[in-house]
Amino acid sequence: MNGILNRRQALKVMAGFGGTMAAAVLPAKAEEHPAHPVAPPDAIAMLYDSTICTGCKACMPACNEANGLPADSLMSGGIWDMPTDLNSKTKNIIELYQDPNAWKAGEHVPKDVAPEGSDFAYVKRQCMHCLDPACVTGCPFGALKKGEWGAVTWNSSLCIGCRYCEVACPFEVPKFEWNNWNPKVVKCEFCFDQRLKKNMEPACTAVCPTGAVVFGKRTDLLAKAKDRISASPDKYFEDRVYGEHEAGGTQVLYLSRVAFDKLGLPKLSSTSLGHYGTKVTSVIYKWLSGPILAAAVLGFAIRRNWDRHEAERPEREKETGFPDQL
């Protein structure tokens, strides 16, 4: 037996060789949509601290100017920019939360009467630039994509206007130009083309006079936010950073005294939507194996039944006196 491989040994060698080849040829790629994505080291971020924001709204005209957006002056009678929500003219907005119990209409409740932290707070809203964005996962022709440094940008020449991004986004950020014949999807793009590429920080963080919103690397800003929490315990809601884990993690981080959901930041699980939405289909559609397998199984049965049908056809036609109909 020496020198000659028996069947079992040969199989073992072949299996080993095949495995090595597969490992060498097939890229050892990480999972496409991990449940809890890890931010790449160059990921940028914004940190917004609601306790610092004075609601001056300097970031809003700065955003409009940088992105060439018109003022939304519908509510102000055509005088000044006064959007009521993120919309097709507004990529960035400062909103005010007021506790309905602390601030009843026409009745001023003194601050010391209202429970601590329940009075009011500002919140800045724009695209969260998720680590695993649902809009990018859903976008059929890749018009929305997560590019360099993690900025989620929109490409007008690939978008068919299906508005799936609006359905998919858990933060309800992408907006559609309903009143434009050539509608665009409008959302914060981290000032990617306008400023980031020219080595400038986004307009909103550059202009913020109080430092309520700051720009930096995500790892740095996360550390900074945690430092603030540990420096003043009990100041921040739940002593945590919103966006660290929400929807798998986002590249905009929030600190707030008021509960996040009261500010309009939804309660979300830490699993990314992309993972939830593709964990089954990514297996079924891997190399189109599912459809090919289905085609093989169906094809086998169809072929057999078709041949049977065709074999019986002449007799059936003769019997009924009519041709077979498909």
Partner: protein, 445 residues
């Protein structure tokens, strides 16, 4: 004509009368009903034409919270379930060899084709930037993990290639019997090739809708918590597919019974009971997966909370459970009126399942209200009416509806404008044809 008619209590004959597709030849083409639907279709399409030159906002009450209006949620996501008859019946007939069902395939195919094509028209006017759809021809732009991509490629492909191919024999058959001798020679030459490639097309015609009907459910996974947990589930792709099968079967039953009543056709007890049986099985399958899914995700308490969502859930599933149970009884399946009612319930239940997650149970946090605007409703009604008009013309000019082959000698209604002459039916008994050995149909389309 038939010598073995028996009448049941509803006056409908229930012996087997369906041998083949037979055109409706003794009815007027332009009835008031048809003109009514034509008018709605014309209004809807005219508005759609205007919409091409106008932004969406002026035509619909869609907004950024409810970015999908009824064109997507009803005309496409709901009505293509009713148009899944070719898928459900085809798999039963060609994969599971239910030979009886071949005779009703044409009805299913024509209705399915019309549901899909009108749905795609709706989609074409719904998307905001249709001119960028050329990217479908460039696979390197495809986002392979997007369910929306799968739908936007597979739905037009299915309708334009596979359903059209399956509907093609209707036209060829008509051309064969009404055309010139040269046409007949040509078709005789072509027919064997069609039969050779037919089974391969059948594979595509089942695999592709299996993919996109499940992807319609897959779409909604990314909507996450916006959809009520009674509907939002990882099982949605499977449930959407099962609902498509259920609705497809139920709608074919409904359509067959409606048309046979409308055009005074006799019925076929074997085919109808077979369909009823399959429908009952499809309903049970759907409910089984639905119940397991609810239990698995621990949402049983929400299902019986008796709030508005829970009541909606219970109504939807009761509508499916009633036909599932009732159609187990042979007497139910064999009584056309009862079968019709049960199929109607299943249709409503199944379409509710397909409609609710994108509309009633879809509640984004910054919810605004959405109710379709008048132009939106008119356009949606227009697309549906277009389908009705086309179907009504199809059954009159082509051999679509199943019928008794003794009633028909391959004479087709001539195509004329407004005053179609009554066709001259060549009365030649089958026996005579047989004795003459006239095999005037080697085309066998």
């Amino acid at each position: 004509m038939s010598n073995q008619q028996t009448a049941d209590t509803t006056g409908t004959t229930l012996i087997n009368h369906w041998q083949r597709g037979v055109p409706v030849s003794h009815e007027r083409v332009f009835t008031p009903t048809l003109l009514f639907f034509s008018a709605i279709a014309a209004i809807g399409l005219a508005m759609a034409g205007v919409r091409l030159f106008s932004p969406l906002g002026a035509f619909s009450s869609m907004n950024d919270a409810y970015a999908w209006g009824i064109w997507k949620t009803f005309n496409v996501m709901t009505l293509t379930a009713l148009g899944s008859g070719p898928l459900a019946l085809g798999i039963a007939a060609w994969v599971f060899n239910r030979q009886k069902l071949h005779v009703v395939m044409r009805t299913a195919l024509v209705s399915g084709f019309l549901f899909y094509s009108t749905g795609l028209i709706a989609l074409g006017f719904d998307v905001g930037r249709p001119w960028n759809f050329y990217n479908a021809a460039f696979p390197w732009t495809w986002n392979m993990e997007s369910a929306m991509l799968e739908i936007s490629i597979c739905m037009p492909l299915y309708c334009a290639l596979f359903l059209s191919f399956e509907v093609l024999p209707l036209f060829l058959e008509r051309f064969y019997y009404t055309g010139s001798e040269r046409m007949r020679v040509l078709l005789r030459r072509v027919a064997p090739y069609i039969r050779r490639i037919y089974p391969f097309f059948l594979i595509g015609a089942y695999v592709i809708p299996l993919m996109h009907q499940s992807s319609l459910g897959g779409l909604l996974l990314l909507a996450g918590t916006k959809i009520n947990p009674l509907w939002q589930s990882p099982a949605m792709p499977l449930l959407y597919l099962l609902a498509a099968g259920l609705c497809g079967l139920a709608f074919v039953i409904l359509l067959l019974l409606t048309c046979c009543f409308r055009y005074s056709r006799s019925l076929d007890v074997d085919v109808l009971t077979e369909l009823g049986n399959l429908l009952s099985c499809a309903c049970f399958l759907f409910l089984g997966v639905r119940v397991v899914d609810i239990l698995w995700r621990g949402q049983l308490h929400a299902a019986f909370a008796f709030d508005s969502m829970s009541i909606l859930f219970l109504i939807e599933n009761t509508l499916i459970a009633i036909p599932a149970i009732a159609l187990r009884s042979k007497a139910m399946r064999e009584t056309p009126r009862k079968l019709f009612n049960m199929a109607a319930l299943a249709c409503v239940g199944g379409t509710l399942y397909r409609f609710i997650p994108t509309t009633i149970a879809y509640a984004p946090a910054r919810s605004t209200s959405y109710f379709p605007s008048v132009p939106e409703l008119l356009m949606a009604a227009g697309y549906i009416s277009l389908g009705i008009v086309a179907f009504s013309l199809a059954v009159k000019y082509f051999a679509v509806l199943p019928g008794d082959d003794r009633d028909w000698n391959h004479v087709f209604r001539p195509i004329g404008w407004l005053r179609a002459k009554k066709p001259v039916v060549e009365v030649k008994s089958v026996a005579v044809a047989k004795s003459e050995g006239t095999t005037a149909w080697p085309a066998s389309l």
